[in-house]
């Protein structure tokens, strides 16, 4: 058992919690959000500490209580609920008295948070089913946006609601607002591969060219075949930047093609494979100086995207819209959170 590493991981978590408390006490929305981010990080550190050692049951249980408490204080009923469920599994075989002592501080706070959350979710109309699967009228979308704002204000620790806010803003072509919401989701869940993947494309819409270039450049070094969605979004981001500044476009296309091939060498699901394949064909036609046609969409299996499109349509735009609509169709809170 490496106690030094364990102690260091626990100390990290403790310091984060103390910083978070001071920010919560400050009370301004930005400070409260920072506190939520710190508490999420503390919860992860707590769980990491326990993985570092072959800990006895009481220690594992206590670390989970700590992690759950961090999520409760970090205003994230979803993550808190997931850890709370694990507590039921971990307590088997423990004495009732010990378990009660360990849970005495957590349970009232947990139940109070879940109660508040249930009331808030019960008050949703436009977002009552989770997400606006199909956006219809403008007033409906506006209402959904207001509801998302209400949820992110009351429960700023739920990454899923920031994701909802991002999707709505994105559907309204509000690039800056979408970027800000997605950034909040990413700060809460920095390891969420989908948030990171989508952020590449969002960066090219919301940021200045140089900043977007720097942003996607920072991700490039970490790309491997185990994250095909990241590969796809990286390639799309390069395509957008190549169109914005045509001077280095061949270099960008070649880089994007390499990344797409990396993505295809992993194990993408069928939808992702079709999207990657279409992007590959598009990039190859650009590099070979051939005008891309609808044929590449059929060849990649993206028949639904191709059907109904005019013959002279811009294939790059069509492909990007097709991919974006698929992301939207696959949205749900659990995926995001």
């Amino acid at each position: 058992m490496n106690l030094d590493v364990y102690a260091s991981a626990r100390a990290t978590s403790g310091k984060l919690k103390l910083k978070a408390k001071a920010r919560l006490a400050d009370g301004r929305p930005a400070e409260v959000f920072d506190a939520c981010v710190l508490l999420h990080e503390a919860a992860r550190a707590e769980q990491r500490a326990i993985r570092l050692v072959d800990a006895p049951q009481e220690t594992r249980f206590a670390a989970l209580v700590e992690a759950c408490f961090c999520f409760v204080e970090g205003l994230d009923p979803h993550a808190a609920g997931r850890v709370y469920s694990r507590l039921y599994q971990e307590r088997e075989g423990m004495s009732d008295e010990l378990a009660a002592s360990l849970l005495s501080r957590l349970t009232p706070r947990y139940e109070s948070l879940q109660e508040k959350y249930a009331v808030a979710v019960g008050g949703l109309v436009a977002l009552g089913g989770g997400l606006p699967m199909v956006t219809t009228t403008i007033p409906q979308v506006q209402r959904a946006q207001r509801e998302a704002k209400r949820m992110t204000s009351a429960f700023p620790g739920v990454a899923g609601w920031w994701w909802v806010a991002y999707r709505i803003a994105e559907s309204r072509a509000e690039a800056k607002r979408a970027w800000n919401a997605l950034t909040c989701a990413r700060r809460l869940e920095p390891d969420n591969a989908r948030f990171e993947a989508i952020s590449l494309l969002a960066a090219t819409k919301a940021l200045e060219y140089e900043a977007a270039n720097e942003y996607i450049g920072a991700v490039r070094a970490r790309i491997d075949s185990s994250h095909p969605e990241l590969c796809l979004m990286y390639a799309l981001a390069e395509l957008r930047l190549a169109r914005a500044r045509p001077r280095n476009r061949k270099q960008r296309w070649t880089r994007a093609l390499d990344v797409v091939r990396t993505g295809l060498s992993g194990e993408p699901d069928s939808t992702l494979r079709n999207n990657l394949r279409a992007t590959q064909l598009l990039l190859e036609s650009y590099i070979d100086q051939r005008k891309p046609s609808l044929e590449l969409l059929y060849r990649a299996g993206l028949t639904e995207v191709a059907i109904g499109a005019p013959a002279e349509t811009d294939i790059q735009d069509l492909l990007m819209r097709g991919i974006a609509s698929r992301v939207r169709a696959n949205d749900d809170m659990e995926d995001a959170a």
């Binding site: 102690a7 626990r10 310091k15 103390l18 006490a25 301004r28 002592s101 360990l102 501080r105």
Partner: protein, 197 residues
């Protein structure tokens, strides 16, 4: 009775910066209280100290030099003011944060050379000296804004509806050594009690 005089800025030397810096504004905001006569230094806390079967009563005289505190944390006055005026949505954390700061003071005064290495939130004890699994060692802290000794006794002993902290700590088989540090702002009162071993 021993009088312990302690300058709050000394806490930066006695404990790690990260543990101290976020508690100081709360101590500065919470300890002086609302009424004018209570707002002058030194701030005197009657302190009931229990080790094993022996209980003694002392006095803690707390002072601070805001200039020296500002040298460590330039935002301390501003943060203390916000906490004092209570215009925050999370003001219930004030007593808790201040109790953390005062507990660090009590540790530095009554347990010289012991330094906090980690902190709990969801389970007791709040401050840890030793994180060895199943042999935890630390101090549990709590603060009450009013109620004096009665309020602190209720925290330690419990009420008909709620189990006291002492019993909760004794039930924990994973803790080898723990003390209870309780603080009340009005009237001022404090307890430092060794619960285990």
């Amino acid at each position: 009775m021993t009088v312990y005089r302690y300058a709050l800025e000394q806490l930066y030397a006695d404990q790690d910066f990260e543990w101290v810096v976020d508690t100081i504004p709360a101590v500065v905001a919470w300890v002086p209280g609302d009424s004018r006569p209570k707002r002058s230094q030194p701030f005197r806390f009657p302190l009931r100290h229990t080790v094993g079967q022996y209980t003694s009563t002392h006095q803690l005289e707390l002072t601070w030099d805001i200039g020296q505190l500002r040298a460590q944390d330039p935002t301390v006055s501003q943060r203390a003011k916000r906490l004092r005026t209570g215009k925050t949505v999370q003001r219930e954390h004030l007593a808790e944060l201040a109790a953390y700061g005062l507990t660090l003071v009590a540790i530095s005064v009554l347990m010289p050379r012991r330094r906090v290495v980690a902190m709990n939130n969801g389970v007791a004890p709040d401050f840890l000296f030793d994180v060895t699994p199943n042999r935890l060692s630390g101090v549990e802290a709590a603060g009450r804004s009013r109620g004096g000794w009665g309020a602190l006794n209720a925290v330690g002993n419990g009420t008909p509806k709620k189990r006291g902290k002492r019993k909760q700590l004794l039930a924990r088989t994973d803790i080898a050594e723990v003390s209870l540090s309780l603080w009340c702002a009005s009237p001022r009162a404090s307890v430092m009690e060794q619960v285990k071993p």
